[in-house]
Each structure stands twice: as structure tokens, then as C-alpha cells.
């Protein structure tokens, strides 16, 4: 199974091209025409993808930050294949959108499209993957497995229910073996390729080793950093303005059409080198944490996020956060507040107007009303959004994975009974 990679393209908009771009995005979005929609489903291994117009903003120091077109996708490696397919299979529909971007070729072909995407591709500072190494094929296979087993159990419940759990499991295994499309589920999914795993293992060890080597310097720098942080926090101004009603209504009109939603929040960083360094450091640590600690089904207690990323823009004066999550935006924000306020604070508190934090991790998001208002004000509408499995929550995907895993290997009667509770 492949590992997953995040593609981010941040393109400048042609002068005067904004309105036409927005129309092209709406034509490609929900309710738009089918031939205007980028055919992500026909490309290989695309879990999620989106295109949206990032609004203009003002930096922490007061400089204008321009509007941009942003393309993001969460795909199975290799990235190279995905970019090729975007330019090839997705070419004509992408053209209809990208031709409103500055410098896009007048008569594009796969090679010039590719050159353009590569020119404006940026890498994420932090990229979260719900479960590293779980490819799209695996998600879809396990989803089919579950649905088929649901029907099987509905039909055969009367003859199965009274039997011992181990015997029921055997009957299920036989049923799966007899179905050629499901048979692969009897084996375990292959791990990501060796080169990726070696690279991750080296990263896992090398980062702490490097930090250890630098520890004499860090031990001096850290207390100083904390003092400077407290001085900055003392000067921070939280923005208590409520979001505009029409803005919230516009966002809400795009939400809750399925059980998943896309989220984007963007905003300027507080001015000055301290916040810039702090954000870079925090996102670097976060990236390490999501790669090596929170890499299976659980982002520090939040289990409703499929993919998420933080991306620096405009020479690190602005940050974009984007995610694919389950349920309502209200429950998403409540999860932030109730489960990972410390994590939100550490990253988002470097943004202008965030509710006041103490020692970086405390306060902040726990100020429920101001936090929700700040998030809503910084949230951006996503005009084009694609999900390869819009009917599955991340919890569903993980339960399907456990269901499949239980088809192989040996089990005690007790384990088999517990496994049967999964379906």
C-alpha cells in the first residue's frame, strides 16, 4: 500500500480575472455542470481534493496580501503520477479554471500545465493523515467488504445467531473467499514501500538526536523564548468582533450536505520575527508528531479528521489550515475546544486576533465564543470539493479496517465475539 502525500498549488490571479475565476469555480462546484467538474474520481488514488479562492487579506504589519487560487489534494504516492494525471485526465477542466490565473499558458498542453503546477506548488508545513499508509484501494475494498457482510448477516442471521462466534467467523471467511472481488480482504494490506519506511524511521530517530545535540543551546534559548512569549502574550489583542451574519449564512449554505465537510481557515500571522519563528517551530514539531505519534486514527483525541494541513503563504506572513472532517462545523469546533484546545492554541494563537492565550497552550480556544467567532471570520468557502468516500466517517473507515484485519490470523472465542461486534 502506498503512503499518502499532500499536493498544494497556490496560484496568483490574473489582474481583473477574479470574477471570471469565481464563476468558473462555481461552474465546477456542486450544482455546476458535470463537464466543468474536475474528474478527480478518474485519477488514481485521490482521497480528497479541493479548489478554492483565498480572499485578499492584510498582513500583521499592515501590508496587502493578494487573493489566490488554491488547489489541494490528498493522494496516494507517488505524487508525480498524480500531477501527471491532473494535467492529462484533468487538463481541460483545470484549464477552464486556471486560465484566470497569472502566467497560465494560453494554449496549454500536459507539459505546460505540469510546469505551471510545479512552479506554484508549495509544501505543507504540517500534513496530517488519519492513518498513514492506508491507500484508497484499501479504504474502498474494506468499505465494500463491510456492506457485503451487512447484507450477508441480514440474510443469514437466523441460522448464524445461535452458533459459537468462532464458527460464525469461519462462515464469514468462507463467504468472503467465495467472492473474487472481496477475496483480497482475507490477506493483510501490504505496508508502504521500504524506502518510505526507512526514510520515516530515520526521521523518527534523527530529529530527537539532532535536538539532543543542540540541547545546550536549546536549554538556554528555551527560558528566554518563554519570557519573550509572555511579553508578546501580554501585548496580544483578541478580536472580539462577531462574524457578519451574511458571511456565516453563506458558509452554512455550503455545509452539511453530506456527513463530511471541507474546512479552510486562513489568516495573517502576528507581525515580527518572534511569532514567525514560533509558528515555524510549532508546525515543525506538529509535523513530527503527526508523522510518528498521531499517525493512526487519532489526532490527540480527535477522531473525525481524515486529512489536514497547515501551509505557509506570502513569505510566512499568512497561514492556511485545511481539513476534511466528519459532522457539523459546530461539533468540529467543539472538538477543538473540548479535546485539543492546547494544540489549536499552539498553532493558531500566532494568528492576528486569536483569543488570548497563556503560556502558549492555555486559554485561547477555551474562550468558546471568541474562538468560534474568530474561526468563522477566518473560514473560507470551498467552491470545489471532492471526496472519494463521502459516506464514510473516519471512524467508519477505521472500523472497516479492523473488520478486515479480523478476517485473517487466529482468534480466541472471546476475540471472535468482540470482532463480530464490528459489523
Amino acid at each position: 500500500m502506498p503512503h499518502q502525500v499532500a499536493l498544494t498549488v497556490v496560484a496568483p490571479i490574473r489582474p481583473g480575472g477574479r470574477d471570471a475565476l469565481e464563476r468558473a469555480l462555481h461552474a465546477a462546484g456542486p450544482g455546476g455542470s458535470a463537464d466543468a467538474t474536475v474528474p478527480f474520481a478518474r485519477m488514481t488514488g485521490v482521497h480528497f481534493a479541493r479548489l478554492f479562492l483565498l480572499r485578499a487579506d492584510v498582513s500583521g504589519a499592515g501590508d496587502p496580501l493578494p487573493e489566490r487560487l488554491i488547489l489541494m489534494s490528498d493522494v496516494d504516492a507517488p505524487l508525480d503520477r498524480h500531477v501527471s494525471e491532473l494535467c492529462d485526465i484533468g487538463g481541460p477542466t483545470l484549464d477552464a479554471i486556471l486560465r484566470h490565473c497569472e502566467g497560465y499558458p494560453d494554449t496549454p498542453d500536459p507539459a505546460s500545465r505540469r510546469a505551471y503546477l510545479e512552479r506554484y506548488a508549495v509544501s505543507a508545513a504540517t500534513a496530517y493523515i488519519n492513518t498513514v499508509g492506508r491507500g484508497l484501494d484499501q479504504v474502498l475494498l474494506e468499505g465494500r467488504l463491510r456492506e457485503t457482510l451487512e447484507h450477508y448477516l441480514d440474510q443469514h442471521r437466523d441460522e448464524l445467531a445461535g452458533r459459537p462466534a468462532l464458527e460464525i467467523r469461519e462462515r464469514i471467511q468462507e463467504f468472503v473467499a467465495a467472492d473474487p472481488t472481496l477475496r483480497p480482504a482475507l490477506g493483510r494490506p501490504a505496508p508502504p514501500d521500504l524506502r518510505f519506511r526507512i526514510g520515516e524511521a530515520i526521521h523518527l530517530v534523527l530529529v530527537p538526536a539532532g535536538l539532543l545535540a543542540l540541547s545546550p543551546i536549546l536549554l538556554i534559548a528555551l527560558p528566554l523564548g518563554v519570557i519573550v512569549l509572555r511579553i508578546h502574550e501580554g501585548r496580544d489583542r483578541e478580536d472580539r468582533r462577531r462574524p457578519d451574519d451574511a458571511w456565516v449564512d453563506m458558509l452554512a449554505s455550503l455545509e452539511d450536505h453530506s456527513i463530511q465537510n471541507p474546512f479552510v481557515a486562513a489568516g495573517p500571522l502576528k507581525p515580527g520575527p518572534f511569532r514567525r519563528t514560533l509558528t515555524t517551530t510549532v508546525l515543525w514539531i506538529a509535523d513530527y508528531a503527526v508523522r510518528h505519534v498521531f499517525n493512526h486514527a487519532n489526532l490527540a483525541g480527535v477522531k473525525t479528521i481524515h486529512f489536514a494541513r497547515w501551509v505557509f503563504l506570502d513569505d510566512k506572513r499568512r497561514v492556511v489550515f485545511a481539513s476534511n472532517y466528519d459532522g457539523s462545523v459546530e461539533s468540529y469546533m467543539d472538538d477543538f475546544i473540548d479535546k485539543v484546545a492546547w494544540g489549536l492554541n499552539a498553532t493558531f494563537s500566532n494568528g492576528v486576533g486569536y483569543p488570548k492565550t497563556r503560556w502558549l497552550f492555555f486559554g485561547g480556544a477555551r474562550n468558546e465564543r471568541v474562538f468560534k467567532d474568530v474561526l468563522r471570520r477566518h473560514q473560507q468557502p470551498v467552491q470545489v470539493w471532492y471526496s472519494a468516500y463521502p459516506d464514510l466517517t473516519a471512524t467508519n473507515v477505521n472500523q472497516n479496517e479492523r473488520l478486515r484485519a479480523g478476517l485473517s490470523g487466529s482468534m480466541s472465542a472471546k476475540e471472535a465475539a468482540a470482532w463480530l461486534q464490528l459489523v
Binding site: R146, E150, L153, D154, R157, D158, L160, A161, G162, R163, P164, A165, I168, D245, V248, D249, A252, S253, E255, D256, H257, I259, G301, K303, D326, G327, S328, E330, S331, D334, I337, D338, K339, R366, N367, E368, R369, T393, T395, N396, Q399, A417, L420, Q421, V423
Partner: protein, 489 residues
């Protein structure tokens, strides 16, 4: 733990709170809800002024009757509350229950779509004011309603709906003992009450600290617009006067229940399970959908049969006894309207309960329509008399409490890791009943409950009622109500 957190500023002012926040009036069995539109704001304010002295405060336990008033945001505008004050209400209150997005998340679609509603429909007359009248018996209630009605007419109010309730006992129309689990306010009520359900006052009463230690959004009045000092001060410390304090947000919905449809479905589903569709099998299956037996005993405590000794049992949790839902299915009605310790973070811990407690509602509903015995419902004698529940709940943060519960717990097909299972009682869909081995699955439970009307209202504190009555002269800038839509528009 909770009691220790009460400080002087958190102590609720019972004499300024409407009694509905403290009591469900189990002793006042008769009730009637009157919905009005304001036609003449001047006369309506006079009516309010007289009413303010008669509204039942929480400091009094009424013996014979009780009277409460709630006002919608269009009603407040019509009474002359200026935009600057109205803007202090949360968006949900200002927009009302019937925006397209809200209909989507509340499930008010198809048969339940607002344009079919009996009241509160987008094109129907605007509901401005609601009187909730209670009496120990019908003979005490009727003359009071008649008198109020006369005064309301003199007060320039036009009746939009008169909603009579029926005393059908402690069970709702499907036949299940209802209203058992209720959050309690910190420092009020029985000290022995289950600590899991004790909330800080601000979760239910405006102007107090909530579970986050914060104050919910509520309308404020500049001091010069309240020169007489009718309103309480802002507990948050601003110079403004607090129009919200001691009030709450009241959600009112008419939920029609298809009792014959419910029991016929259950009877049929019980038959398909290969069981004889006797009364016992039917009740067992219906109880799986609800999560309690008809008598009230929770399935998690009494999985195999009803138990009168557990009729009001509420001191229980789910995780340790029943994490898989083999006793009480994960999707059962009461397990999703109050999941207790079932959900993340860390199911089974105080942390799980603390987070779930950010989404509690104080319920004050009443049934309407005649009771239909199960046998009659099954006989299929075409009983189409409307019956159901006037659902009423109180909370201070509609998006985090009522709307969250409705969207994320009741209606979401993905609640608690499920796949396609909304609340079987309120929404329908598939429904799994876990067993020791192979679960039973009801493929498509129909929808038994239809929304027939509804509104978000402000349940003001008693001083706030007086302030609203005094509006015409103070700071409302001329004839109030000019800027609002006329009734019926």
C-alpha cells in the same frame, strides 16, 4: 465537585426567573399554549405590564396555576426593541428556526418542511408572543385561559394558535415514561441529585457562568436606555444593563406522533424476527428503539424486562456495563439524546461526561391529543386524530445545545461510530440491535414523528418583561414596530 464551584455571583435570582426554569409543574396537569401576533404595540405593552405581575417566579411553588411568557425576536422588534439591542441575540435567535440550512440540520424537510407548518411557517403569520398557561386541573385552567385571551385581545394581540394539551400521564404517546433525565442547576434543587447531571447555571439561565466559565450571548441595553434601572446589571462587568439575565432561550416544536404507524411497524418487525408477535416481543423491540422500558427502567440496568423499581432510575452510565450496546443499542433514543459517558474523549470517564454536559437541554414538553392504547393502534381502526408532543426545551446556547443535539446526536446517521442510523424514534433509518454474536438489523425504520410547527423564543426574566412593557417611550426612536414586518406579511 460541582457544588463547590458555586460562588456568590453564580447564585441564581429565583425571584427574577420564570418558574419554568426550575419546575416542570408535574402537579399542574392541565396546560395550554397561546401563540399571538402583536397588532398594536402600544396596547401589547400595556398587556405585558399587567402580565409581569402575574408571571410565576421560580421563587414560588404554585399550587393551582402558573403563567409564563416567551417572545420571539420579531415580537421583540414589534414591541419596539431597537436593532442595536436585538443584535445582541445570537444569530440562531435572530434568524429563527426556518432558514434553509437550519431546516437541513434540524431535519425539517419533506413532510416536516416549514412551509407545511401550522404555525411558524415562513409564509404564515409571524409568531410574536407565546403564553404558557398551567392549571392543577382543566376546570382551573379554562377560566384563566379565557380571561387571558380577553385581555390579550384588548392588548392588541391576534391569536395565531391555541394549543391545548392532554394529560396522558407520565408516558408520552408511544407509551414510554418520559422526561426522567433532566439537568439540574448547580446549587438548586435536591442536593442528593445525581452529580453527573448537575450543570452550572449559565448552561440554562442567561447572565450566569456556563460550564466553560463564560457567559452566553444575550441582549444588552445601554444605561441611558434604561434610566429607571429596571434591568439587572451585567454580571460580566460592562456598564450595560442585562436584558437577558435570568432568562433563557425556549425552543418550541410541535412533534406529531404516528402512534398506529409506530406499533404496526414494531409488530411487523417483531414478527419478522421469527418471534410470535405477542405483547412481550413487541414491547421488547420497542424498548430497544427507546433505550428504556415503557415503565421507565433503563435497558442498561434491566436488559431483559421492565422493572417498576427502576421507573425513575437515572443514576447510571453506559460504558462499563454496555460499551457494545448489547443491552441498550448505541443508536437507541435515550442513549443518543443523553450519551452520558459513552462518547469520546475517553468513554467511561468523568472527562466524557464533562464534554457531553456541554450539550444538555432542560425539557418542558407536554403531550396533546387523546391516548391511543396499543391494541387499538394495532387494530388499525383508522384513528387519525392528531396526537403528539409540544416539545419545549430551555438552553442558553442554541447552536451548542439544542441544534447540536438535534444534528450531531439525534439526526446524524454516524452517531457513536454507527454507519447509517439516525434516531429511530425521531428520524428513522436503519437500526442495529447488538447481541452476543450476530446483531439484528432493522433495515428501514420509517419516520414516526412529523414536525408541524415551531419557533425559537426568548423566555425573559421578570424584570426584563417589565422593561419590554416600558419600551414605547425609552430610546426606541418614535413609533416602535415601524421597521418590522407587519403581521401576516
Amino acid at each position: 465537585m460541582a457544588a463547590a464551584r458555586v460562588t456568590a455571583t453564580d447564585r441564581v435570582e429565583l425571584d427574577d426567573m420564570q418558574g419554568l426554569l426550575l419546575r416542570g409543574y408535574g402537579n399542574l396537569r392541565a396546560a395550554c399554549f397561546l401563540l399571538y401576533g402583536v397588532e398594536q404595540p402600544d396596547a401589547a405593552r400595556d398587556f405585558l405590564a399587567a402580565l409581569a405581575d402575574r408571571v410565576t417566579p421560580a421563587s414560588q411553588k404554585p399550587g393551582e396555576h402558573a403563567l409564563h411568557i416567551a417572545v420571539t425576536v420579531p415580537g421583540l422588534r414589534r414591541l419596539g426593541l431597537p436593532d442595536a439591542v436585538v443584535d445582541g441575540f445570537p444569530l440562531e435567535m435572530r434568524e429563527g428556526m426556518v432558514t434553509p440550512h437550519r431546516s437541513r440540520i434540524l431535519g425539517d424537510v419533506d413532510e416536516s418542511a416549514p412551509d407545511r407548518w401550522a404555525f411558524g411557517a415562513p409564509a404564515g403569520p409571524e409568531v410574536h408572543m407565546m403564553l404558557l398557561v398551567y392549571g392543577a386541573e382543566r376546570s382551573l385552567l379554562t377560566p384563566l385561559v379565557r380571561e387571558l385571551d380577553r385581555e390579550a385581545k384588548r392588548g392588541g394581540l391576534r391569536e395565531i394558535a391555541r394549543l391545548e394539551t392532554t394529560d396522558i400521564g407520565p408516558a408520552e404517546h408511544f407509551g414510554f415514561h418520559d422526561g426522567i433525565s433532566q439537568p439540574r442547576l448547580d446549587g438548586i434543587g435536591a442536593a442528593t441529585h445525581d452529580q453527573d447531571e448537575t450543570l452550572r447555571a449559565g448552561e440554562l439561565v442567561l447572565g450566569y457562568r456556563d460550564e466553560y466559565g463564560l457567559y452566553a450571548l444575550r441582549p444588552m441595553v445601554a444605561p441611558h436606555d434604561d434610566p429607571a434601572g429596571t434591568l439587572p446589571a451585567d454580571a460580566e462587568g460592562s456598564p450595560d444593563h442585562d436584558l437577558g439575565r435570568n432568562g433563557s432561550y425556549l425552543v418550541f416544536r410541535q412533534l406529531e406522533q404516528d402512534v398506529p404507524g409506530f406499533w404496526r411497524y414494531v409488530d411487523d418487525a417483531a414478527r419478522h424476527a421469527g418471534q410470535k408477535a405477542d405483547a412481550k416481543a413487541r414491547l421488547a423491540l420497542a424498548s430497544k428503539l427507546v433505550g428504556r422500558w415503557p415503565g421507565g427502567a433503563p435497558l442498561v440496568l434491566s436488559p431483559h424486562s421492565d422493572d417498576p423499581a427502576l421507573a425513575d432510575a437515572n443514576d447510571f452510565r453506559y460504558h462499563a456495563a454496555d460499551a457494545d450496546g448489547q443491552r441498550c443499542p448505541l443508536g437507541a433514543h435515550i442513549r443518543r439524546t443523553n450519551p452520558r459517558d459513552s462518547l469520546d474523549p475517553q468513554p467511561g470517564t468523568a472527562n466524557s461526561i464533562e464534554v457531553a454536559n456541554h450539550h444538555r437541554l432542560l425539557r418542558r414538553g407536554r403531550s396533546y391529543g387523546p391516548r391511543l392504547p396499543i391494541d387499538t393502534a394495532l387494530a388499525g381502526e383508522g384513528d387519525d386524530t392528531p396526537r403528539g408532543l409540544y416539545f419545549i426545551c430551555l438552553n442558553t446556547n442554541l447552536s451548542r445545545q439544542f441544534e447540536f443535539v438535534q444534528q450531531t446526536w439525534v439526526r446524524s446517521p454516524k452517531f457513536a461510530g454507527l454507519y447509517g442510523e439516525p434516531d429511530p424514534i425521531l428520524a428513522g433509518g436503519s437500526f442495529s440491535i447488538p447481541t452476543e454474536t450476530v446483531r439484528r438489523r432493522l433495515a428501514s425504520v420509517p419516520r414516526f414523528v412529523t414536525v408541524r410547527g415551531g419557533a425559537y423564543c426568548f423566555l425573559p426574566g421578570i424584570r426584563a418583561v417589565r422593561y419590554l412593557a416600558s419600551l414605547g417611550g425609552v430610546g426606541s426612536g418614535g413609533e416602535p414596530g415601524n421597521s418590522s414586518r407587519p403581521v401576516g406579511s
